[in-house]
């Protein structure tokens, strides 16, 4: 049975658990040098309406390790920029016999619309300001590796929460898994009403960082200043930068995360980015394994293909 992975908001806890378990198993296999599972001769369309080298490369690597073929559709180079509607693009890809679609699009809700027209496995690689589920899974896997659990952890998500799909997906995932989620940022960069979002909202940094096990920075887009939502980078830095000083109130063994690309010196200082707390590089690597898990999950493949193969041989 095929599935879609469109948002964390709609996932049940057992689904999140099985995705994280799958991710771990994929990671073990790759790190132990096991060969990819026998190619199921499946082709995955990577449909990127928005530029994203990082997420696209991560999905390509995930597909490579799993033995899937990849077809890249990048907006500038295809009919995507010729005024074709999303519906027609997706229907075309279905007719091209692609087995799954990974979509990144500037519009919130676009992944769901794509799934409606594709009628098969679709993975959301970021839809507007809504969700970025594989990023949240990568972050959760990273936290699990360091803390051994998600339940009961104090997690501060810092920055432009209003416009961040990473913040939404992470907050949903962590709250569902029992963490104490705190969202903090300048008032203009927090939603006006927060009643339908998970987590507690804070307007000043230190109370949110107090005793935190995990500190997640969000990327600050330059255009927010043009919109007048932010007085100056300096003001943001003074109020909300995660750095050597502000991390003092967090737990000694707290980890610092950032989905990238970093504005070094704005969201975080060199100490936070490169120092002993930083796990930013691991987040990127874990992105590959959770995307492997996401692909096998949407195809409805069972856990642990290596063991399954061994069992088959014995039988």
């Amino acid at each position: 049975m095929s599935r879609t992975l469109l948002s964390i908001r709609h996932l049940e806890v057992p689904e999140i658990e099985s995705l994280l378990q799958l991710s771990k198993e994929h990671k073990d296999r790759v790190l132990n040098g096991m060969p990819p599972a026998p190619a199921a001769s499946r082709t995955i369309g990577l449909l990127f309406f928005e530029n994203s080298t990082r997420t696209r490369v991560s999905f390509e690597q995930a597909a490579n390790y799993s033995g899937y073929r990849v077809s890249n559709f990048i907006a500038e180079a295809s009919s995507l920029s010729k005024g074709e509607t999303l519906k027609d693009t997706i229907r075309t890809l279905r007719s091209e016999r692609l087995d799954a679609v990974v979509i990144r699009h500037k519009s919130s809700g676009s992944a769901q619309l794509a799934a409606q027209f594709f009628g098969g496995p679709v993975i959301n690689a970021g839809d507007g300001e809504h969700e970025h589920p594989t990023q949240a899974l990568a972050d959760a896997l990273t936290i699990l590796e360091h803390k051994g659990r998600l339940d009961g952890l104090k997690v501060a998500i810092v920055g432009d929460v209003l416009h961040s799909r990473v913040a939404r997906s992470n907050a949903w995932l962590l709250e569902k898994m029992g963490a104490d989620v705190r969202l903090v940022g300048p008032p203009n960069l927090l939603p006006a009403e927060t009643g339908k979002l998970p987590g507690e909202f804070y307007q000043s940094l230190l109370p949110a960082l107090q005793d935190a096990d995990v500190v997640m920075c969000l990327r600050l887009q330059k255009e927010r200043m043009m919109e007048g939502l932010l007085a100056s980078v300096g003001q943001y830095r003074r109020g909300y930068q995660v750095n050597r000083e502000t991390l003092m109130v967090a737990k000694d063994d707290c980890i610092v995360m950032h989905p990238g690309p970093l504005n070094r010196g704005v969201e975080l200082d060199d100490f936070a980015a490169d120092g002993p707390h930083s796990v930013i590089g691991e987040q990127v690597e874990n992105g590959i394994y959770v995307r492997m898990a996401a692909l096998s999950w949407v195809f409805g493949e069972s856990l642990a293909p290596v063991k399954a193969k061994a069992a088959k041989v014995n039988a």
Binding site: T85, H105, S108, G128, E129, R165, P191, E193, T194
Partner: protein, 445 residues
């Protein structure tokens, strides 16, 4: 030809009439009405109206007919047919077509099309654009358009931001005795917005329009009305703040009225659900608190009338991501029934007040020859026959409008328009079985 509507509940807010009686329509004219009107033997058609309401034809002050320019969404022919099916006998068409209704020639075009044989047989009262091409800078030749037949002027679709220009336009319209229908939206506050700013927009990651974007302009327009003395009609109020502004303006003696669209008194931002573009409109669907206070304002009369804000779109235009979808909902064929269901049957409005909001009030605001059942008060008989108890489900596949983008698809409704006369019979519901009427057609020589 003499038609008798027999033993119906006659609801005529123009004279506060609510009695059971008969109505006689003879040769396109409404000639007699009342409890004591005899059922004459020489009638051609006698329709048994027991249990039905006989009301003046409905008046819709706010309809987008889309022609010229967007005939794929709606045409004057299809839109007027939809109006008739919705119980309307007079509709005002908005000027933000392509090209814009900003000169007398294009007003002639609208009126010609509305009178063509393929049209629905309702009166179309055009609303002229306040500025040329909707540029919000150069005021159009409103006097010439008034001679051509506009009943009001509006900045619909191109809300005038510059208060000085709006003030000048109101001075001109006051001189011409032309009501101004205003689209109250501060575009700097609503920039990039696609729904209400609230908990739903925060969850879905969609840009929200704050209530202040509407309220600031409602306040400005009320004050400009007060100071220029021009009659101003606020289109589509959706927040309690906007209603409070109108209440204050009325209290201060300004010639201000306002309307509400059915979707704004019965749907909230929750309806957007998982990015359903059928629920995208401007001003947007608001919160539960707003709706509760809007219902109060309907009951206490601060909101003068109901307008469909019929905004049809082609199917492919709404099969896109939410932020790329156009604003607006089709509404002509659901407006009256939603009003019966949500306002009358829920005790917000009496039957007489329901008809007032749908007919008499908008006719009075725009000085239209409509909204009354009094004999010879209108150029031709405008009568809508309603079964207030009939339960049915709204189905866009059975509507006349080309726009199937209704937020009420599948909604269970109570109360239905059965027959509409605008001079002659222009609409009869398929569910209105001939068994209910005793036809005694005698062709007169």
């Amino acid at each position: 030809m003499k038609i008798i509507l027999k033993q119906g509940r006659i609801l005529d807010p123009s004279v506060e009439m609510d009695v059971v009686g008969n109505v006689i329509i003879e040769d396109d004219q409404l000639v007699e009405i009342g409890p004591d009107v005899p059922v004459e033997e020489d009638a051609d058609v006698v329709i048994d109206c027991t249990g039905l309401w006989i009301a003046p034809g409905f008046v819709d002050p706010h309809v987008h007919l889309r022609e010229p320019g967007d005939e794929h969404k709606e045409t004057i022919a299809s839109g007027t047919q939809a109006a008739a099916a919705g119980g309307f006998t007079t509709i005002c068409c908005m000027p933000n077509t392509r090209p814009v209704l900003d000169n007398p020639a294009i007003i002639d075009f609208i009126l010609d099309k509305a009178a063509a044989p393929d049209a629905g047989g309702v009166f179309v009262a055009p609303v002229g654009a306040l500025t040329l091409g909707g540029n919000s800078e150069s005021i159009a030749d409103l006097a010439a358009m008034k001679r051509a037949g506009i009943v009001a002027a509006s900045d619909e679709g191109f809300p005038i931001q510059n208060a000085r220009i709006m003030s000048r336009a109101l001075e001109i319209c006051k001189e011409l005795d032309l009501p101004v229908m205003v689209h109250s939206e501060d575009l700097t506050l609503s920039a990039d917005s696609v729904m209400n700013e609230g908990a739903m927009s925060a969850m879905l990651g969609l840009r929200g329009a704050p209530r202040s974007a509407e309220e600031i302009m409602v306040m400005r327009n009320c004050l400009l009305s007060l100071h220029t003395g021009c009659q101003v009609h606020i289109m589509r109020v959706t927040t309690w703040g906007a209603v409070e502004m109108v209440r204050q303006a009325k209290y201060l003696g300004a010639r201000v009225t306002c309307e509400i669209a059915p979707h704004n008194f019965c749907l909230t931002e929750e309806a957007v659900g998982e990015f359903d573009p059928r629920f995208k409109t401007t001003p947007p669907l608001r919160g539960r608190n707003d709706v509760d206070l809007l219902l109060q304002a309907l009951a206490d009369g601060t909101i003068d009338c109901v307008a469909s804000d019929h905004s049809p779109h082609a199917a492919y235009e709404v099969e896109v991501p939410f932020d790329a979808a156009p604003f607006g909902m089709a509404g002509l064929e659901s407006a009256a029934a939603v009003t019966f269901t949500e306002l009358t049957h829920k005790g917000i409005l009496s039957p007489l007040d329901t008809i007032r909001k749908l007919s008499t009030a908008p006719a009075k605001i725009l000085k239209l020859d409509a909204g009354t059942l009094q004999p010879f008060e209108t150029p031709v008989a405008q009568v809508t026959l309603i079964d207030p108890e009939l339960e049915w489900n709204f189905d866009v596949h059975r509507t006349f409008s080309k726009g199937k983008n209704s937020p009420f698809q599948g909604k269970a409704l109570k109360g239905k328009v059965l027959m509409v006369f605008c001079g002659s019979e222009i609409y009869r519901d398929a569910a209105f079985a001939p068994s209910r009427e005793q036809v005694r057609l005698q062709l007169r020589s």
